[in-house]
């Protein structure tokens, strides 16, 4: 690789991120074409994929060397000290080049070779079939049909080829509506609820500067509401916060909507009516002020709702603030919570969750179809649609279903993964943790409903890892059209089969698929239910985590149980064989044997020692006495920094004995 100036630097120190007394590991730093590798003196390896690097920073030279701070997109932060400034500079420059590629073709996925042949690769790509998924939902049916309007990406470049629309919506209506909508993203079906016959549809905002009404768009919305035989009323959810919309109206004079802002207290009926009234008044006032509202009559049978999810820029800076707070050395509890509050991160998560709950409730309680949109209909809309479907349909809470959900609502509908994750060296303002928020919402659901999900936290973390890794083709590009142009299916591999290969790691041991109660999730959104996701944002800060994981133990135990069940079957058949043999061999002893197996005298006489069946828990249970210096309270007493190897080894001796 032409960017690599130096491949190996020795005597590099890796600083502990939180330690105030500069505890460090010394080792060797290697630079490969795809990874940065640090091997410390205990031969422990730290691999960092170049694509994971979000920023590289060279700090001012110190006496011990030149500090290099690398922040990763998976929230790993490493702090190296390179002894010679020259080396540091070389690494710094190389990493700058390597972490920001200009072309898709330079990404890891195009060189990654897991030794599969073409048919296996193709099979991997065919694992998720969206047509199959729509069939599972029950479309096409008498009300919904597959439209070929976008077969050549002529109407909308960022939509997939196959789109489902109301059967009564003709092609001219679709074309007309798409001209009225930003980026041509006209209302299409995202999820169809078979029992309620209600649909979740998605689109983008109406085009700004378009001051007249658009009859086709009105017709299409009519068609959607008519496609629901149970409830003619439908909701249009604008996921943007109201105050932002007002200022936007002021400038754009766009055809607006009637504001029916849904507060977070949406579930309390009484308050809804009360606040609805307020909003209606508000909307009237706005209309009187000449802000160009569309007459509600134009869109009959429609209720407009606002839910306040902020835009990608707010989200980006919110996460930045959060990470800044968390990275502070010697963080106090108060600073942590005030930082958490001022970052607003959990508030944003809650807003997404509230919107999804509103969506689910509209379908479950009112049987109403819902049309969701934000500005372009690929960020907040994807969050709300996918999370809403997840609440409604237990299939999406399985491993396979979750993959389908991501493929459908995120990848196919054109969430701009490459821009949002900064795969290429592009506009930093396009980067935003939208998908991370979605994963976090799912994590919050798993916390409230531990038995409702087939997958576990590790699955979410692994997916998060790979949206940035560029190791697989799934998340490259910004829409289906771009992916086809890149020939991803021929040149790269799909992530999903690799996840399925490791399925054991990602299964939730206490998953309850039978429970009927879990068909629709109704999470509580009282604030105290939202917690900081330590395992995501401090995934690599081992010292902050519990030293023993109940979850892992249960997971292994579950595995062990399966093995044991097998063993039992095997043993039983062996015993049977044995008995048969003996009965065949010696008929006379037959009687004796039938008594023997349970004979107590024999049992006690046999000096039977129970065997260790599987070494399952060993690795997990070699409990760490951990190191007090890891745990943030060694910060005051410098004289405590003496080494204590003898004591430690003694402890581990005990550990081996008793665990």
């Amino acid at each position: 690789m032409e960017h690599i100036r130096t491949t190996k630097v020795e005597q590099v120190k890796l600083l502990d991120r939180f330690s105030t007394n500069n505890k460090s590991l010394t080792g060797t730093l290697y630079l490969t074409a795809t990874h940065l590798l640090f091997i410390d003196s205990h031969q422990k390896e730290t691999w960092i994929l170049h694509h994971h690097i979000a920023s590289v920073e060279k700090l001012a030279l110190t006496t011990s060397g030149c500090p290099l701070v690398i922040q990763c997109k998976n929230f790993r932060i490493v702090h190296f000290i390179v002894p010679r400034e020259r080396d540091c500079h070389d690494i710094y420059n190389s990493l700058l080049q390597l972490s920001k590629q200009a072309k898709y073709e330079d990404l890891y996925a195009f060189s990654y070779n897991p030794k599969q042949n073409d048919s296996e690769r193709l099979q991997g790509w065919q694992l998720i079939d969206l047509a199959e998924e729509y069939k599972r939902m029950g479309v096409p049916n008498s009300n919904w049909q597959l439209s070929d309007a976008n077969r050549e990406y002529k109407i909308c470049e960022t939509y997939p080829r196959e789109l489902y629309v109301p059967r009564i919506a003709s092609k001219p209506i679709i074309v007309g509506s798409s001209k009225f909508r930003s980026k041509g993203r006209f209302p299409v079906l995202s999820y169809y609820h078979q029992d309620k016959e209600a649909a979740i549809c998605r689109c983008s905002q109406p085009l700004s500067g378009f001051s007249a009404r658009c009859l086709e768009d009105e017709h299409l919305l009519q068609a959607i509401s008519k496609a629901n035989p149970v409830n003619r009323y439908m909701y249009v959810m604008d996921t943007r916060p109201k105050h932002r919309m007002q200022s936007w109206w002021d400038t754009q004079k766009d055809i607006g909507r009637i504001i029916v802002r849904i507060s977070s207290k949406i579930w309390s009926d009484e308050r809804i009516t009360e606040s609805d009234e307020k909003k209606r008044l508000n909307a009237m006032a706005n209309r009187a002020a000449g802000k160009g509202y569309e007459n509600e009559d134009n869109y009959s049978n429609i209720r407009f709702q606002f839910v306040g999810i902020e835009n990608i820029h707010v989200m980006r800076s919110s996460l930045q603030k959060l990470l800044e707070v968390n990275g502070t050395k010697g963080l106090s509890v108060n600073d942590f919570y005030s930082g958490l509050e001022s970052s607003g991160w959990l508030r944003h998560i809650k807003a997404v969750m509230d919107a999804a709950i509103f969506l689910a409730k509209a379908i479950m309680v009112e049987n109403a179809s819902v049309l969701v949109h934000c500005s372009d209909g690929w960020d907040r809309t994807s969050q709300v649609c996918s999370l809403g479907s997840l609440l409604l349909d237990s299939y999406y809470r399985t491993v396979k279903g979750f993959m389908v959900l991501i493929e459908k609502d995120w990848i196919a509908f054109g969430h701009k993964f490459s821009e949002r994750c900064g795969h290429l060296d592009g506009d930093p303002k396009e980067v935003s943790p939208v998908f991370t928020q979605f994963l976090e919402c799912v994590w919050h659901l798993t916390e409230q409903f531990p038995q409702a999900f087939e997958f576990n936290e590790a699955f979410l973390l692994q997916i998060h890892e790979h949206i940035h890794s560029c190791q697989f083709g799934n998340f490259l590009g910004n829409c289906q059209k771009e992916r086809e142009e890149l020939k991803l299916k021929e040149k790269t591999y799909s992530l999903w089969p690799f996840l399925l290969d490791d399925l054991k790691k990602y299964l939730n041991p206490i998953y309850n698929s039978q429970s009927q109660r879990f068909t629709v999730l109704e999470p509580s959104t009282v604030s105290f239910n939202f917690k900081f996701w330590r395992n995501m944002y401090h995934q690599f800060d081992r010292t902050l985590h519990p030293r023993q994981s109940v979850f892992n133990i249960i997971m292994n135990m579950n595995e062990q149980n399966k093995q044991l069940e097998k063993d039992i079957k095997e043993l039983e058949s062996k015993i049977k064989q044995c008995k048969n043999k003996q009965t065949d061999d010696i008929l006379t002893k037959e009687l004796l044997h039938s008594i023997h197996p349970e004979s107590p005298t024999l049992k006690s006489s046999l000096c039977f020692k129970e065997q260790t069946l599987l070494p399952v828990n060993d690795a997990l249970r070699t409990i760490e006495g951990s190191n007090p210096t890891d745990n943030r309270y060694s910060d005051y007493a410098e004289e405590f920094s003496k080494a204590e190897p003898a004591v430690v080894s003694l402890e581990y001796g005990v550990a081996r004995m008793t665990c």
């Binding site: 105290f528 061999d585 004591v647």
Partner: protein
């Protein structure tokens, strides 16, 4: 299988027959395993019927079925009689206690063995074969000096204590080595097999090592080999070494002989070594009438070299008479945690020679210690104006003082009130919730306490330094720190019994004023300045550690919640009163039931047992980073949200564990069957 192995290690049914024979009628056998005496016989207490002191209404009393109420000590079920020979009525405590030492009882997991002293005791082959004068057992054996043997002394002491109604010896912690000769009851491992004895110029001998009240005996159990009988008093010094799990104890005798014992098993080796080590500690009864320190128990552990007279002097120099006493002895390196009240140095820098001597007596030659003051330097300096103060380094040159700031009294109470208010607010406003949570400062207090406890544990385990902990009175933050340090350091205190013992020792006996601190909780409008959720904070800290080491505790969250409930409102007498002296005056032991007697019933225990528990002999260092600390939802959100799904998930988890055990058992049975069939089938096939 590891799980069971680990458990058995802690509760193993060690063979104590020999010990019983040699050392009766002492209570040696019980203390070998059981931490304190109070709940050594929960079954006993459960037969006692609580009677209300006149004028005291305790609410409903749960009576065991079939027990007539109001009958004092009268035992309903017949089973009580063997435990209380000659015991007939409520007033007969002294009598009842006296003979009660003559039976020996011991619980080891499921088994209870009882030997009345007058019945023939189980004899070991070793003892039957060769009987040199039996130390401490035979009638002809002359009592050693001091003239009273410990057992007798104990009876006297306990009768003294009994007059004040609460006879408990829990002042002697189970972790403490108090030299073999005087405290046979403190022998933790009386017998180890496969010990190899090395002596110069003799072949190595493998045999069984026994510890008796006065001797260390090694016998190969073969007729033609000699046995080693070594008087404990002959031991001058010992060294310990470990290679893997094989421990080596080198004993240097006063007659210049040096022998080496290879003892398999780290725990056994440590126990043997600590039993024969000459102890630097003794029990003191200086406070038996609660005259020296009203908030201390009748019996305390102090350095051997300090006599009671000096203790009385030291008591006048310490706040509330709380002179420095032993709180914890770290077996691994012999370091100790001591606790006390603040020194009353005042503005003119008073000093007390005895105090300095006492504190220095706990240090080994050339060692330094740390004094952890739970107040900030500022607060400590202010305390001087009120007659309090801190140890001047000039007068305690071997000690380094560290100030940590743990809040007290109304600040904690306000914190609790704010936190509960925040949790009760069903707000949907994220910012409001976070700012309220922050403003309550509750987690800040948790972090401070845990940090200080970790610091204390670090001094002991990593620095190899002894510590003295005190704040102002030494009844609040001091106890939080000493008890949490023990949770971190001592595997035993993470078991149910061990934790109960810890509460008993470090909170009840150490004089935490429960009555004052827990009179009101978060909702009451009347605010008294001495109310503070000190104990709740401690439990919360334990919960934080439990969350970080979910397999290292024998108890679960429910156990902590139960303790919290009973500390604030209970039908049991355990948490009544502010200290031992008050409890004695209230005659709680005669008139109320002990919480432990109820908790330790198998039916109750099952609710509090952690299914994931595996004994973890390591020191466990919790993380105190704010990201690692969590709001204790089980307490604070308990009534504010539905925990149905979480409870079901927990049940499912328990099911998986149970199922796992079942399957393992079944596989083992099948393997055994198969092995039997094969061994039977094998020879038949060959001919």
């Amino acid at each position: 299988m590891r799980g069971r192995g680990g458990k058995e290690k802690l509760f193993s049914d060690r063979n104590i027959n020999l010990q019983v024979r040699l050392c009766c009628p002492r209570r040696n056998n019980r203390t070998t395993q059981e931490p304190t005496f109070q709940y050594d016989f929960p079954w006993l207490a459960s037969f006692r019927v609580p009677a209300l002191p006149p004028g005291v209404v305790l609410g409903e009393q749960p009576l065991p079925p079939g027990v007539p109420s109001g009958s004092g000590l009268e035992a309903g079920p017949k089973a009580a009689s063997p435990f209380y020979p000659g015991c007939s009525g409520g007033g007969g405590d002294c009598e009842a206690r006296g003979p009660s030492w003559s039976w020996l009882t011991r619980t080891c997991g499921r088994h209870t063995q009882t030997w009345p002293s007058h019945s023939p005791k189980p004899r070991s082959s070793l003892g039957q074969r060769r009987c040199p004068p039996q130390p401490g057992a035979g009638p002809g054996f002359p009592p050693r000096s001091p003239p009273l043997r410990p057992a007798q002394r104990w009876v006297i002491c306990s009768s003294a204590a009994v007059t004040s109604s609460r006879c408990r010896g829990s002042a002697v912690p189970w972790f403490l080595p108090l030299g073999g000769m005087e405290f046979a009851e403190l022998i933790k491992t009386p017998r180890v097999d496969n010990v190899v004895l090395h002596r110069p110029f003799y072949p190595a001998v493998e045999g069984t090592l026994c510890l008796t009240g006065h001797h260390l005996i090694l016998s190969s159990r073969q007729d033609n080999t000699e046995e080693l009988w070594l008087l404990h008093s002959n031991i001058d010094a010992i060294d310990k070494r470990f290679v893997g799990s094989l421990g080596t104890v080198i004993i240097k005798c006063k007659d210049f002989r040096i022998i080496q014992l290879d003892i398999p098993g780290m725990e056994e080796c440590l126990n043997i070594a600590s039993s024969i080590e000459t102890s630097e500690w003794r029990l003191s009864y200086v406070n038996k009438e609660f005259a020296v320190c009203p908030s201390y128990p009748p019996i305390v552990v102090v350095p051997k070299s300090i006599d009671d007279e000096a203790l009385r002097k030291v008591a006048t120099f310490r706040h509330g008479g709380r002179f420095p006493v032993l709180s914890y002895y770290h077996k691994k390196n012999g370091m100790v945690i001591m606790r006390s009240g603040q020194p009353l140095s005042g503005t003119n820098g008073r000093r007390c020679k005895e105090d300095e001597k006492l504190i220095n007596a706990t240090l080994r030659a050339g060692k330094r210690g740390y004094i952890i003051d739970t107040r900030s330097l500022n607060v400590a300096q202010q305390a001087r104006a009120k007659g309090g103060g801190f140890e001047q380094e000039a007068h305690y040159p071997q000690w380094r003082r560290i100030h940590k700031s743990i809040e007290r009294y109304h600040i904690l109470q306000e914190s609790l009130i704010k936190l509960v208010e925040a949790c009760n607010d069903q707000t949907h406003n994220m910012d409001r919730w976070l700012s309220k949570l922050e403003a309550s400062n509750w987690l800040t207090h948790i972090k401070e306490i845990l940090t200080t406890a970790c610091l204390a544990a670090q001094c002991i385990d990593r620095e190899g330094a002894s510590i003295l902990i005190h704040g102002t009175e030494g009844t609040d933050s001091t106890l939080q720190v000493t008890s949490l340090a023990q949770i971190i350091l001592e595997p035993r205190s993470r078991t149910i019994r061990g934790f109960e013992a810890l509460i008993e020792r470090e909170w009840l006996q150490a004089g935490h004023p429960f009555q004052q601190r827990c009179a009101q909780s978060a909702y009451c409008n009347i605010k008294q300045k001495w109310e503070a959720p000190v104990f709740l904070l401690f439990l919360d800290c334990v919960w934080q550690i439990l969350r970080q080491f979910p397999c290292s505790f024998e108890f679960n969250e429910n156990f902590l919640i139960m303790l919290f409930e009973h500390a604030y409102a209970s039908q049991f007498g355990t948490f009544l009163g502010n200290n031992e002296s008050e409890r004695c005056k209230l005659k709680l032991q005669q008139k109320t039931m002990s919480l432990w007697s109820w908790v330790n019933r198998p039916s109750e225990l099952s609710k509090f047992t952690n299914p994931l528990f595996e004994a973890n002999a390591l020191v466990i260092w919790p993380s105190v980073a704010p990201q690692s600390l969590q709001l204790w939802e089980g307490i604070f959100l308990r009534w504010n949200r539905s925990s149905r799904y979480l409870d079901e998930a927990y049940e499912e988890m328990v099911n998986i564990i149970e199922y796992n055990k079942e399957l393992q058992a079944k596989v083992n049975i099948l393997r055994r069957q198969l092995a039997e069939l094969e061994t039977e089938g094998g020879p038949q096939e060959s001919p």
